[in-house]
């Protein structure tokens, strides 16, 4: 037919500036495609602005008002004054008052408090007698950053605070001794803290990506159409896509923990079986979240973008890079919604503090809830038709 005949000079091939012309053609095409992908376009603006605001306000490397517990074996005026003085330093916030050593240890072990102050029996009397009794300040040094600034300034600040507060005259030195004890990581070695944290961080990244691509890949390759025409239910698709990677995650966790122990000398004080069980739960939670992204995203690029939108806060708000207790309350609530936050507590507690299940009930339950929420969203979001 006559319609598709080349017509004269228009289709003449111009080879001058060929390089620029072809590069331009490619650029123009990319811009058009970028503009069509609305979600990616929105993310170009949303990701930097949101994340900058989020992290700019949330992160604080010299944290204050750290949750603390007091083991009060004597309820005297002096004891109260000392606690008040400690609180006035703005480093400590006493949230628990216990009278039993075991409760005190468990609070530190489970990570509910970062500091514990022990006021011994007969403390006031010993001070009056001039015996210089010891005031024990136990710090959870698994995160050296969180603990160090508070511990470092302890002696000086308490002294000033006490002088203002009540003390009799102007004594040359404190009438008692502050004995700071950096528990679990006495040498304040950061790798002791970082390596268990890395277990969680690496698992988050790899697990998310595995499943985040799983549904979008079926759609993009066209296999979803025949899959949906066959008798399989959304829950079955989800389980089929998650379970194999639990094994993969388990192997990864095993590798990282072994390298941590044998190469970096990180201890594993707690029960290995408990660590394996809770790690599996954490792996499954991340896989479920990745899978949820996959059911929401329209293509693989979006799925990857969503994974990063989730991964970056996990890195910064979970307590991996910056002390969790140092963040403002809203950021802490946000952090509680991230599985990594809970897993970091679990893995540090088991490896470094020898914690057992009763210490970790809350975090384990939180992981299970996050997993179920993600799975529920995934199953309801899964499109059973091509509509």
């Amino acid at each position: 037919m006559s319609t598709i005949r080349a017509t004269g000079p228009v289709s003449e091939i111009r080879d001058r500036f060929g390089f620029l012309r072809r590069s331009y053609a490619m650029m123009a095409k990319e811009f058009i495609q970028l503009r069509r992908d609305r979600v990616s376009f929105a993310m170009i603006v949303a990701i930097p602005v949101m994340q900058l605001l989020l992290f700019g306000y949330a992160i604080n490397t010299t944290p204050h008002h750290l949750p603390s517990a007091v083991l009060l074996q004597e309820d005297s005026d002096l004891a109260r004054s000392v606690l008040k003085a400690l609180e006035n330093t703005a480093y400590f916030r006493f949230v628990y008052e216990v009278h039993d050593v075991e409760d005190f240890d468990n609070l530190l072990k489970s990570g509910k408090v970062l500091f514990g102050v022990e006021i011994p029996r007969g403390f006031e009397r010993a001070v009056r007698r001039g015996d210089k009794p010891a005031l024990l300040v136990a710090a959870d040094a698994t995160d050296p950053v969180a603990a160090s600034s508070a511990l470092g300034s302890l002696g000086m600040i308490v002294q000033t605070a006490l002088q203002h507060d009540l003390y009799i005259g102007d004594p040359p030195a404190l009438p008692f001794e502050i004995r700071a004890h950096a528990r679990y990581n006495p040498a304040a070695e950061s790798r002791i803290n970082i390596v268990p944290g890395l277990v969680g961080t690496i698992l988050t990244m790899t697990m998310l990506i595995f499943t985040a691509l799983s549904v979008t890949r079926e759609i993009e390759r066209g296999t979803m159409e025949s899959l949906l025409s066959m008798p399989i239910k959304p829950v079955e698709v989800m389980l089929g896509k998650i379970v194999p990677y639990i094994l993969v995650g388990f192997i990864q966790a095993f590798l990282i923990i072994n390298i941590g122990v044998f190469l970096f000398g990180v201890p594993v004080l707690g029960n290995l079986l408990l660590l394996a069980a809770l790690s599996t739960l954490f792996i499954a939670t991340n896989l479920a979240i990745g899978y949820t992204f996959s059911t929401i995203a329209q293509n693989q690029l979006q799925a990857i973008q969503m994974s990063f939108m989730f991964f970056l806060p996990s890195l910064l708000l979970s307590g991996f890079m910056f002390p969790f207790a140092g963040m403002p309350a809203w950021a802490q609530y946000l952090g509680e919604c991230l599985p990594l936050t809970h897993y970091l507590r679990i893995v540090r507690a088991i490896m470094l503090k020898g914690a057992s299940m009763p210490n970790l009930r809350f975090d384990a339950a939180a992981l299970a809830i996050l997993m179920l929420v993600a799975m529920t969203i995934a199953v309801t979001r899964f499109r059973r038709t091509l509509d």
Binding site: G222, T223, E225, S226, M230, P231, T385, L386, D387
Partner: protein
């Protein structure tokens, strides 16, 4: 359940729109059990959408009906168990081998011996020796055979084949159709969409759909007869004739066929009046002939474009 057990597909008034554009409009059709039903129409006419509605992959905006006696709106899961759907684009796993793909399908449908069923199908498809090859590495014809094998593996009662022979060589196409006839002889109902006229003629019944509207249905002979098209075949010195005739009154279609030209019209009297001046021309030989199925379809397509666009 449908009282009439001879009917495999019975749908009425199906409509479906995407983004405000109606792709299927008020479509009704009936397919007899054990028959091969051809589904024809131009690209974008709604064939794929209709097939997807029938197997529960799409929900119609309106309409109702049954597929194998099950309600297409409520019993999609039951329909899926008994329907084999072969997609237009190859949709098995390219990175699984022939055997792994077949075993996957067999397990999804809950076949008792998935491995054995896959092995039997490999033999039946003539793929023995290639069962370990990745599906993505098969040629077009073999991919299509594998896809047919996969959707017949769970012994479905109805096969929905969406342009199964697109891009397949004539030999493979013929083998494919022999296979389909063999399956139909075993009692399987087959709904197959196609562009090829020779394939349409291999169907027991056909339906022609354009712009979402079902325009004609019946056996091939019925469809040709119902078109009431008068066709003349012209041979000889055809240069320029097609262009001259195209817009004459009564001439609905002019189509070149190799060295001859088909001139057709619905109104026989008007057509004959218009072509009269050329009939006497020397060098041209006119003969009144039967319209071919292709003549009928092209005429239907032209007409539907006038009506719906």
């Amino acid at each position: 359940m449908n009282a009439d057990d001879d009917i495999a597909i019975d749908v009425k008034g199906l409509s479906k729109s995407f983004g405000g554009r109606e792709v299927v409009h008020d479509l009704s059709m009936q397919v007899k059990r054990g028959s091969i039903y051809g589904f024809l129409g131009p690209n974008g006419s709604g064939k794929t959408t209709t097939i997807r509605i029938l197997c529960g992959l799409l929900t119609p905006d309106s309409g109702e009906g049954t597929c194998l006696g099950y309600d297409i709106l409520r019993d999609a899961e039951k329909i899926k168990r008994q329907v084999g759907y072969m997609t237009q684009r190859f949709s098995l796993y390219q990175d699984l081998s022939v055997r792994e793909n077949l075993e996957f399908v067999a397990r999804l449908y809950g076949l008792a011996d998935a491995r054995g069923a896959a092995q039997d199908m490999i033999k039946r498809l003539g793929l023995s020796g290639r069962e370990g090859q990745l599906a993505g590495e098969l040629s077009g014809g073999w991919k299509q055979r594998l896809a047919l094998g996969a959707c017949t593996l769970p012994n479905p009662k109805l096969l929905l084949l969406d342009e199964p022979t697109a891009g397949v060589d004539p030999k493979a196409r013929r083998d494919f159709w022999n296979e389909i006839h063999a399956l139909a002889a075993e009692g399987l109902t087959v709904l197959v969409s196609t562009h090829y006229m020779d394939e349409a003629e291999r169907c027991h019944e056909i339906a022609y759909i354009a712009y979402g509207h079902l325009l004609a249905r019946g056996t091939v002979d019925e469809v040709i007869a119902k078109s009431a098209l008068t066709t003349y075949t012209v041979t000889g010195e055809l240069g320029g004739l097609a262009a001259e005739l195209e817009h004459k009154a009564g001439v609905d279609m002019v189509a070149p066929f190799g060295t001859s030209l088909h001139v057709s019209g619905r109104d026989a009297a008007a057509l004959e009046a218009s072509i009269a001046p050329w009939r006497e021309k020397s060098g041209l030989h006119w003969q009144k002939s039967h319209p071919s199925l292709e003549d009928v379809f092209i005429e239907l397509m032209n007409r539907s474009r006038d009506n719906f666009q």
